[in-house]
Amino acid sequence: MSSESVYKKYPKNEASNLIALLQDIQEVHGYLPEDDIIRVAKHAGVPTSRVFGVATFYNQFRLTPLGKHVIRVCRGTACHVKGSLDILQTLEAELGIKAGETTRDLQFTIETVACIGACSIAPVIVIDGKYYGGLTSKSVYKLINEYMKKD
């Protein structure tokens, strides 16, 4: 679906469609580009500040593009006890970004999640939907470098 067809799908000046509109736009681009936030505001007939307010309120909306590989680091209780902070910091240091950010070459995005329900293999991360458990700083270093080499 293109963004044009998203705008066609929703009638103009219907503020109640705001969230659905934003979801569809994010579906198209993987995030909410600034130009689209402005256009969504005009389309739905609400101030841009309100659209931005909604987009920053809900965790589901992203304002920066997603990398090719999305790394989700579990920061739930079990993973935390098993050292997930080390895992996260290793990834951040290796990729040169903070959680929530994307590398400038748009290859990697790091996100943190509260619990992904795989406590038995804590600490765990998910890369592009694939689970990696029982990690250490050393093994995650190796893992991420394999991904970096692949591309």
Binding site: I37, P47, T48, S49
Partner: protein, 571 residues
């Protein structure tokens, strides 16, 4: 319905909130986020009261029911309110001594009233970046207590929506879209958010330093001009009752701080009327664009430029009185006295924050290089200036404005209240068309604090349909009619601020509907007391036309007193 408040019986109407009843009955409940006439949000919880179940409920948002028993002063209530204040303070920079709102801050007052004596909670504070980029309004998100009054004002009353809540939880703050600065948004600088803000998170950009430098420079000839609404409000800054008229004290005070000459913006208001009435008549007679919208309110002008740029040709091309006065000082007056316009410094004292932006518009410069108005101070800044200078304002003698740009009529002063420009213009338009004055000079149907006032008036053979609108959300319906080609109006006055300049973004704080009412009454009292009440009887204006401009709408008038507008991005 029968309810009990603090064990006394009261009568309440269905649908009323607890706060509405207590306010009517004179029982004080503190509020922070509450704004009369707007939907209550219950955001700050400072108005909590205890009901018979032992529950704490927000009085501003909780409806009464039959048999309700309310305690406004129980131990639980006092402790909760104090805790709320302590928590608000915990996330607030404790820099009251150097804050612009020191002395008139709602949070400070509450902390004093509830006897807060220590910083009970200490923890991480929200950080935010200062937004100092706009020429008129500054934002300091760290001072914000998230009451949301500015947001409701900007969205519900002014229909601009330049700011809103962004992010969530601890990271919530009030900000323009994309974390921009205000100067890159559709903010119209009306300053109503500043009036709404209970703390120092929103404030005017101050130009006091620039003003002092000019006054202290012996090479510079400083000329002040004072807007109509300042003279009915500044007294509040010096403890005088709201609506105290201080026309004479203002020039006296200005002289004593070293301003060389003091002209009256009311003079320029009379001049505006001559040009605008002439423009109205021309448009009616030549089949020009109607309705004609007034152009005195810089917030309104920026609003049209952002949101209805295709309707700009309906807006009067007349500069605002501030703009006209600046232009006349730097052309007519400079020529008359032989002063070098570059050595003249025009200091405007305005009830307005948007005038600060207006003064910087490049198209409002007769020299095309230097601004006609060099600095705009709000009523509040002017009061601060006088306090620093040690002026005992209340004991100032009654003095007059200077010639030749100081004489004014009642028509000039009523520019300060919503409906006044319309009334003043009709007084003169009637004279211009029929050659005689209206039988009844007072055009009371367009007076008052209502957001929309409509009327019609018969002038000669024609009946003109007119309206006075204040508060920008009220204007959309009129603009939509024009857009759809079915507007029946001939002349519409628009003021960005509800009630007009008397309630401008630069007026003394804290504001209240009662104060605005008093200021408005004072404006019309001045009008009634003046011997001349129509702009066309202003002898100085006549002399200006005879000696310099020719006649209203002349080539020279167009060059110096008229302007043009531009489309602006609306985000």
């Amino acid at each position: 319905m029968n309810i009990k408040i603090n064990n006394n019986a009261y009568w309440a109407n269905p649908g009323e909130t607890i706060l509405q009843v207590t306010q009517r009955e004179g029982i004080k409940i503190p509020t922070l986020c509450y704004m009369s006439d707007l939907t209550p949000t219950g955001a700050c919880r400072i108005c909590v009261v205890e009901i018979e179940t032992g529950q704490l409920v927000p009085a501003c948002a909780f409806p009464v029911y039959n048999g309700m028993e309310v305690q406004t002063n129980s131990k639980k209530v006092r402790r909760s309110r104090k805790s709320i204040i302590e928590l608000l303070i915990a996330n607030h920079p404790q820099d009251c001594l150097v804050c612009v709102r020191n002395g008139n801050c709602d949070l400070q007052d509450l902390a004093a009233e509830y006897g807060v004596r220590s910083y009970r909670y200490v923890g991480e504070k929200r950080s935010g970046k200062l937004d100092l980029a706009s020429p008129a309004v500054e934002r300091d998100p760290e001072k914000c207590i998230l009451c949301g009054r500015c947001v409701r004002m900007c969205h519900e009353v002014q229909n601009v929506g330049a700011i809103d809540f962004v992010n969530r939880g601890f990271y919530s703050q009030v900000s323009p879209a994309m974390d921009r600065s205000l100067n890159t948004t559709a903010c119209v600088y009306c300053g109503q958010c500043v009036v709404a803000c209970p703390v120092g998170a929103l404030r005017e950009k101050s130009y006091l330093k620039v003003a002092w430098e000019a006054i202290n420079d012996p090479e510079i000839h400083v000329i002040a001009q004072v807007a109509p609404a300042v003279r009915v409000a500044i007294g509040e800054e010096f403890g005088l009752p709201p609506g105290t008229i201080t026309i004479g004290k203002i020039p006296a005070a200005l002289r004593r701080i070293g301003v060389n000459e003091i002209f009256d913006t009311n003079f320029a208001a009379d001049l505006t009327i001559m040009e605008e009435a002439n423009e109205l008549i021309e448009r009616i007679q030549s089949g020009g664009k109607l309705p004609l919208f007034t152009s005195c309110s810089p917030g309104w002008i920026k609003y049209v430029e952002h949101f209805y740029p295709e309707l700009l040709e309906y807006v009067s091309t007349c500069k605002s009185p501030q703009g006209m006065q600046g232009a006349m000082i730097k052309s007519y007056y400079a020529k008359k006295t032989g002063l070098d316009p570059k050595k003249i410094f025009v200091l405007s004292i305005m009830p307005c924050t948007a005038k600060k932006f207006e003064a910087g518009r490049p198209e409002l410069s007769v020299s095309h290089t230097d601004p006609d108005v060099d600095v705009v101070l709000s009523t509040r800044e002017f009061a601060r200036m006088l306090k620093i200078a040690g002026i005992d304002f209340n004991r100032m003698p009654e003095e007059g404005f200077d010639d030749p740009l100081g004489e004014s009529t009642g028509a000039g002063v009523i520019f300060g209240a919503s409906g006044g420009v319309l009334e003043a213009a009709l007084r003169t338009a009637h004279y211009m068309i029929t050659g005689k004055d209206m039988d009844q000079i007072d055009f009371t149907s367009v007076r008052g604090l209502q957001g929309v006032k409509e009327s019609s008036i018969k002038i000669g053979n024609a009946t003109l349909k007119v309206a006075a609108v204040s508060g920008l959300h009220n204007i959309d319906r009129f603009l939509e009619e024009v857009r759809n080609g079915n507007s029946e109006y001939h002349f519409i006055e628009v003021m960005a601020c509800p009630g007009g300049c008397i309630n401008g973004g630069g007026q003394p704080l804290p504001s209240s509907p009662e104060k605005i009412k008093k200021r408005m009454e004072a404006i019309y009292e001045i009008d009634r007391s003046l011997p001349k009440r129509c702009s066309h009887y202003n002898d100085s204006v006549k002399a200006l036309y005879d000696n310099f401009l020719g006649k209203p709408g002349s080539k020279k008038s167009h060059e110096l007193l008229h302007t043009h507008y531009m489309k602006r991005e609306s985000i």
